[in-house]
Symmetry: C2
Subunit: 581 residues, 2 copies
């Protein structure tokens, strides 16, 4: 029982040896992350189309839940950009921003994706995330970054504009342009320039004046806090709110009331697909952060337990007025750099955010939306990764195709269409490639026991014996291709008496491929060609022994290709031949 | 130009050397196939829910079209059982049997699936059919056989009953049972018993009295004609039509009028999925018949040209009052056994059916439906293949699962759901298996240069060096699994200084897997473990050279595993170790 509990509750593991020193380190990290997380939470709530306090709520109980169930020692969960965008898209299909239905839908997305993550963890279905290939994730993140940045321009301009793809957003921005509010543009522009400067120049500057690299990196991440404080003071003192600058305004003070998500079956059903995408994207983002940080300290991440941790975090968010969360890269790196040693740092961050929710919100009254938008823009533009696109082009054209399809569809149709078509195309391209495996006719390298491709090497062959090597496991999608290839190779070659299939690269033969081998054997037999197998691997042979192929085989199974040549040619060296494909 | 025409018109190839002797042989085969095809065409039209003459029409122009465009020398195309059932299901979703809309829908199914086949042939997309794995096809054919046989019981009982899955059909039969017509049951039962006897007993009997095996086989296939003739005489002479025995009745005499399928965009769209399934199933059935017959004479089948041939046949059918057709196994075998040498036999069969349509239809007036149903039942029960189910169970559990899913869903939900879920499950199971490849930690076999799995062989390893062999190409679906596996293997083993990935079984590394290798390299590096590759295949190495992995690699790429061990251990033999997974 204890063993089982420890398996699902990593807190029992690290909690047992928790020391005062660790507490201090975790506490320092928590303070820094809290300061960083306050403006982020507000900004991402804005991106998700939710009231600012929802971002704070999503940074309290979910962090506690992850601290109990998660395996990463330094992960900081909470609202992140891409998931916030996906929440806006999914909830926007159900209700209009600002309505209570919209709020309820965001809660429900957290609940359903939380349940899905939890179920994937308990049933060990985390491999589902593997089908999001790297080019699809990379293309999706890049396109989302562009989409988010462009969508935030409306707040910088002080206009209203909406849309879930680039075309709609740009059109809406164009239409709204005449309503541009100049004071807002000034605040937005200064905030953006300042934040870009902090991101690019602050760290080297601090290091030049003697600040350690770690501290400089942390200071850089706290830049948004400075922007927020200055912007609040500027708006309050210059009375800009009266000049059309939109501000955060009243944030309900105090703890979120415990919320109970709606149980409307139709609503649940219509959110299933979106929730799954949010769950999987969130998991992929989170696990890669967790693995990176864990590797630095030779710690271990259990992906199935991570699913449980993230699931618990989202479910906790759903019952405390939050919306979907996951592990964020920037804040986890800050947490790690600031010295967090255990998930207790996350729990302490939650307490920090809770205190901020209780006491700090009145101070945020004059915070201009434009500054929050600037923090989003600067954060998400770092997600845009052109180098990855170039690398995909150089390394692999199918991967490039999947990436471009994802980018183009994400930008022109929307985030869900982008991800889904990227995944579908990756799988289709993989299946297509494996359905036409590489075939080689092989011959013997003179005076050796090696057999190589006749097209690439100077080898000896016997005109009466044709040896074919397939460089792939045989399964339904390539079985018929192999059949056709064998028939093509013997067509119009009446001299052939033996066909040998060299199986050295075959790790598996499924039932369809077995049927194809039986068909080849039978059809070759009707034309008096004997069919042989050579170099069959142990596990494949075990399986073939359960079939009737070995019994029906007109030729034989040979341990080595050399044995096969000796048996069919009567000599260990074939006679030379000008026989090519 | 001539070359191109010959490529798409195989008739130019065999037509050039056509001789009188070939004509005689083709003619004899055509007469036999015509006799066999008349009752079959009527029966399968009945199964498709169409008037009997539609079956005859589908056996005229389609045969001519196939003779011009097809590559199989002995293939006989026309209506077949499974495609007729699928036509009934697809058309039944649009209109009720007996209406002109139903007839128009059947025409349209032939046209759309014909266009799809043609397009697949021209764009060389025949590989799509590969995704119908053998267990799915086998399960589908078996379940269809059961479904068809049960659905024909209503004609044997002389009642009305409908439904497209076993549950519906059995319920309808039960409800109709009180209306059973006794004379119909007698005719149906006698026909069925007679046809089973012909199928099982006639051939050995004829051979015993000295008939050659080939002739006996042909005679067996003509059994249904005898049943039809006797049944017509019985009904006519005993006046059974007045006693409630349903008969074929008036068949419009003469050629079909040229039909023009409807161009209703919504109707087309709603038939796309069904047409694709009909096209692919028809192609799979046809190509396997063609390959089997071609192999017997060392002839060659071009699958892409076969698609064009079948596409042309279906389009021809659509414009001459027919419905979807494909190459049938039984009739093609008869054609082959009867001596058909070229597709001219098919064209002559078409002339035979045309003559029958002109002059023979009045003779079919008294043909009882029950006898046609009996020919269907006896034909389709031979499709049921229990041995295949047993073989799948014995050979491979995933294949068995795909087969059973197909069978169960075909019977309980319907033919389309059955095929689609079978295909989806096959692909999912394949992806799942390839997403968790086999890993082995390898060590050196004492006093050799061979490296084997430490779990299976008595090998030597060095505690500072971990060598991992992956037995699968690396791609997105298994990249993360590999990453996790490597991290797990080094976790809590501070003695490890080198990790070697032995790549002898890796045929490809896609971009996702490359990223994973880079992540492994980077993360191992942060803990001072060097990462090496060994035995990388040539094409994989070519590709890796276009990436930054080789530049960033903390270790090195070694030509052989032995080189890798020498480089990392400083000796060609590792020290022994009690280190196991």
């Amino acid at each position: 029982m204890t063993f089982k509990a420890a398996k699902y509750l990593p807190i029992l593991d690290w909690g047992r040896s928790y020391k005062g020193e660790t507490f201090v380190n975790d506490g320092i990290a928590a303070v820094i992350v809290t300061i960083m997380l306050i403006p982020q939470s507000l900004a991402y709530a804005l991106l998700a189309g939710l009231p600012p306090q929802v971002g704070l709520y999503a940074s309290i109980l979910p962090l506690i839940a992850y601290a109990i169930f998660g395996t990463s020692r330094a992960m900081a969960v909470g609202p992140v950009a891409v998931i916030s965008l996906m929440t806006a898209v999914a909830a926007g299909k159900i209700a209009a921003q600002g309505t209570s239905e919209y709020l309820a839908t965001a809660l429900l997305l957290a609940l359903i994706s939380g349940i899905m993550l939890l179920a994937m963890g308990l049933f060990r279905l985390g491999f589902v995330a593997s089908f999001l290939s790297h080019p699809v994730i990379s293309g999706f993140i890049t396109a989302s970054g562009v989409l988010i940045a462009v969508s935030q321009l409306k707040h910088i301009l002080g206009i209203t504009a909406s849309g879930h793809n680039l075309v709609d957003i740009v059109q809406a921005l164009g239409a709204g342009l005449p309503q541009t509010n100049i004071p807002t543009v000034i605040i937005g522009a200064i905030s953006t320039i300042f934040l870009f400067w902090v991101r690019g120049q602050l760290k080297p500057l601090l290091m030049k004046i003697g600040v350690s690299e770690r501290l400089a990196a942390i200071a850089t991440k706290i830049g948004p806090v400075i922007a927020v404080v200055v912007a609040i003071l500027a708006v309050a003192m210059l009375g800009l709110a009266d000049k059309g600058v939109k501000i955060v305004g009243d944030i309900p003070k105090g703890f979120p009331s415990l919320s109970v998500p709606e149980f409307d079956l139709d609503l649940w059903r219509s959110l299933l697909a979106s929730s799954l995408i949010i769950a999987v994207i969130g998991f992929v983002e989170s696990i890669s952060v967790a693995q990176t940080l864990a590797a630095k300290r030779r710690q271990r991440i259990d992906p199935d337990q991570e699913l449980i941790g993230l699931g618990a975090a989202n479910i906790a968010g759903a019952f405390s007025g939050g919306y979907p969360v996951t592990g964020g890269f920037a804040r986890s790196a800050v947490n790690f750099d600031a010295g967090a040693e255990t998930p207790a740092a996350g729990a302490m961050t939650a307490i920090g955010i809770a205190l901020a929710t209780l006491f700090l919100t009145p101070l945020l009254y004059f915070l201009p939306i434009a500054t929050l938008a600037a923090t989003i823009i600067v954060a998400v533009l770092s997600l845009v990764n052109i180098a990855d696109i170039r690398e995909a082009w150089r390394y692999s054209k199918p991967d490039f195709a999947a990436m471009m399809a994802t980018i183009i569809l994400t930008l022109t149709v929307g985030v869900e269409a982008g991800v889904l078509s990227g995944v579908a195309l990756s799988i289709a391209l993989f299946l297509y490639r494996s359905s036409r495996p590489h075939f080689a006719i092989v011959g013997q390298v003179r005076d050796t026991e090696h057999f190589r491709n006749i097209a690439r090497h100077d080898v000896v062959t016997n005109p009466r014996v044709l040896t074919i090597r397939v460089d792939e496991s045989l399964y339904f999608a390539n079985a018929r291709y192999m059949e056709d290839a064998v028939y093509d190779l013997i067509y119009n070659k009446p001299e052939i008496e033996h066909v040998i299939l060299m199986c050295s690269a075959i790790n598996d033969i499924d039932l369809s491929a077995l049927e194809s081998l039986e068909a080849i054997n039978e059809r070759l037999n009707t034309t008096n060609i004997k069919f042989h197998l050579s170099e069959v691997k142990g596990p494949v042979m075990d399986r073939l022994e359960r079939s009737r192929l070995l019994h029906d085989l007109s030729g034989a199974v040979h341990l080595s290709q050399l044995d096969a040549i000796v048996a069919t040619s009567g000599t260990s060296h074939g006679t030379e031949l000008d026989f090519h494909l």
